[in-house]
Subunit: 426 residues, 2 copies
């Protein structure tokens, strides 16, 4: 147990040591100052929210079914919304029983519940390098030992799962248990923006099946594609390649935050039977159920077919912003910077010339009126400190141009500095 | 780790063994069959929900501030709602800094976050006998060792905290650590309906301060009083009796589920500085933030002053239902049954004649068209199996009369049975 400050009678649990202020959230506060152009947060463009459709849905739900919408509800979620999710995933090649869909308070809650049900202290959990910071934070209180997967621009390398298992099982580290699962984000990953091609997905799914390694597939960004739709989810490929056993080996997490609006806090988990019951019990204990009102409003909007017109508009908007950022980066960034134009999602992942530390550049960047997120916190293993994440979904193309120009200036200054080591954070 | 069924690659964490189907939720499914008069669930009367006010608030929020309402938001909660909570608690004698208010996804989430931050495996946590089942379920995955407090009709006895500490510290059990905190529900406790009188509150607060034992005070029912308002919260008394040190020693949980509507899932925790930061980090990891839309809608309703007219109406409605149940119990229950008419809240707590097992009576009761919740699951220690909980807030007075008459018949039959032992569950 960890003592809190003097005079406090409270004693914190050991796992509370694993909970630390979110770097990104602390930064967001800093960058909310007026006049700062923020490329930091992964905030969807508020102009993309279907405010009118939500308003109409609220009125309809409260008029037709207000009392049920405001009452306690089933922990599993609102039946028609669970059926909508199952049908929607069917379009992506997954065969999903609505009874295996658990509605969560954002997909962040899905990560927390999975951590609670699956992670023992010290259990090795394999993660991409870099990976979603929110997952690291959700899992950390359950005290896993993170095992970094070797990745390239297409995601974890085909032999990465096997290497992770071998490395831990036969390694010299303290973790003696085998890797218990791998957490993967195949579509336009946060933060790297990378997309796993179909061949890589198939290789990983087959490798996982051979190794008996279960997969957590997190897909918040799949609908935000700007060139062509992504390949089928790992969960679909596992079913196709390995039937019922394949379906049993993948848990799938989805979200309505990116396609509808994050302020409703609606996500979902699709889990095999054995796991579903425990997740449901964890859900009951965590918040009884996700707001029934929100679930009904979302279902009302979704079943109206809004997404069919709404999503193309969102894609068009974000495609223009992505292209604006790509062009601005080409125009304003000094030589030696490297990035891949993402085919979807919300982020560019930028590698600065070696020797520069992105964390040390943040203060001068904010000084110059632009904010970003340094890459280091996204690494469970050794961090590539010369990386940073730029969001292109919040600002307009003109603001993006201005922000990237300022950023380019800051990087150029750093490169010209007589002693570039001073940019390395302690 | 616990193996899941054959062929599943998933391995459950040890704590998942502590998660079991909620008896009450499973029962609720059973009793949702048409034709059953359910006294089981703690569902507020849907007729009491301010549906029109919520509809107007939704329209206003989305019209005036729709984009912000649908965007990601601060983990702490919506500023004006936190200020409203602080001001509201001020009316009850608590001095609350809005910066110490954390908005949660129902107060159930507050219990989960507190368990996560405070409970190490094996840590002794003192609880009332009986106590709120949802708290036992929220804490259980963190693997505490529950220490039952000796209670009477006024709550834990004045020396109960000291006895719990002495019993564990000097006892022969496996738990060697001192009791780390006590979880208390002073107002119209679920399930017992009991109210701690002011003298008992003062005695417990002084005892906790002397022992250096921190308190979790859970108050979902405080506004649902039918005779006179309850005494000040433990948190207020601790401040009055012991100043800043007293304030440091009590965490307070509140809810909007009972005064507004449970389907919005809004609760809050008031915590001292040291704990607040860790709770906030746990909150970020658990679901990023409680739906901002819901928080704005609730604030809009609350700041309109609706509660000033709404709460008296709710109290009047529930008072009539409580009185109907009291009279029905007097009329229909066989001799040897015992209960105290609750001064607030939602529940009667019924003791059957010794030898009867409430769990064994449930099946014949459902057969006779009435459902209730057996008392056993509410006990962390040895259960009083002849107890059961009856909710009076869901059914109308006429339905309550009918349901209690049916229940009385079932109990009477059980008493007349030649071999009452057969009603004892295995």
């Amino acid at each position: 147990m960890t003592p809190t400050p003097p005079h406090s009678p409270w004693r914190l649990a050991r796992r509370a040591q694993q909970m630390n202020p979110s770097t990104i959230r602390e930064l967001l506060k800093l960058t909310e100052r007026p006049g700062i152009l923020s490329l930091a947060g992964g905030l969807p463009a508020p102009g993309s929210f279907p405010v009118d459709a939500v308003a109409e849905a609220c009125a309809r739900v409260l008029r037709d079914d207000g009392r049920a919408a405001l009452q306690y509800a089933a922990s599993e979620g609102f039946g028609p919304l669970r059926e909508w999710v199952a049908a929607e995933l069917g379009q992506q090649g997954m065969v999903v029983d609505p009874a295996r869909v658990l509605i969560t308070t954002g997909s962040q809650q899905g990560l927390d519940l999975l951590g609670k049900v699956l992670i023992d202290p010290g259990a090795p959990v394999a993660v991409e390098q870099p990976t979603y910071l929110g997952a690291l934070q959700a899992f950390a209180p359950y005290e896993p030992s993170f095992v970094p997967l070797v990745c390239d621009d297409d995601g974890p390398r085909p032999d990465a799962l096997q290497a992770a298992l071998a490395g831990v099982a036969g390694g010299s580290g303290a973790a003696a248990a085998p890797v218990s699962m791998a957490y993967l984000l195949p579509n336009f990953q946060n933060p790297s923006g990378r997309l796993m091609p179909q061949a890589r997905r198939e290789a990983l799914v087959l490798s996982a099946a051979r190794l008996g390694l279960p997969l957590l597939e997190d897909n918040p960004y799949g609908e935000l594609w700007y060139d062509s739709p992504p390949p089928p989810p790992l969960a679909a490929l596992a079913q196709q390649l390995d039937g019922a056993r394949g379906a049993e080996g993948v848990v799938y997490l989805g979200s309505l935050s990116k396609v509808l609006a994050p302020g409703l806090r609606l996500g979902y988990v699709v889990a095999p039977q054995a796991l579903y019951q425990k997740l449901l019990q964890a859900k009951q204990a965590a918040d009884l159920h996700t707001p029934g009102f929100n679930q009904r409003v979302a279902f009302d909007v979704l079943q109206s077919g809004l997404l069919q017109t709404h999503l193309p508009q969102v894609r068009q908007r974000y495609r223009a912003q992505r292209d604006a950022m790509h062009q601005a980066l080409q125009r304003h960034l000094p030589e030696g910077c490297r990035w891949v134009r993402p085919a979807g999602g919300m982020f560019f992942w930028l590698s600065l010339p070696e020797g520069l530390d992105a964390t040390a550049l943040l203060a001068p960047a904010v000084q110059a009126g632009v904010a970003f997120v340094p890459g280091a916190p996204f690494y469970a293993g050794a961090a590539a400190r010369h990386t940073l994440r730029l969001s292109f979904v919040t600002l307009s193309p003109a603001e993006i141009e201005q922000a990237v120009a300022a950023l380019g200036g800051v990087i150029g200054q750093a490169l010209k500095a007589p002693n570039p080591e001073r940019h390395c954070a302690p």
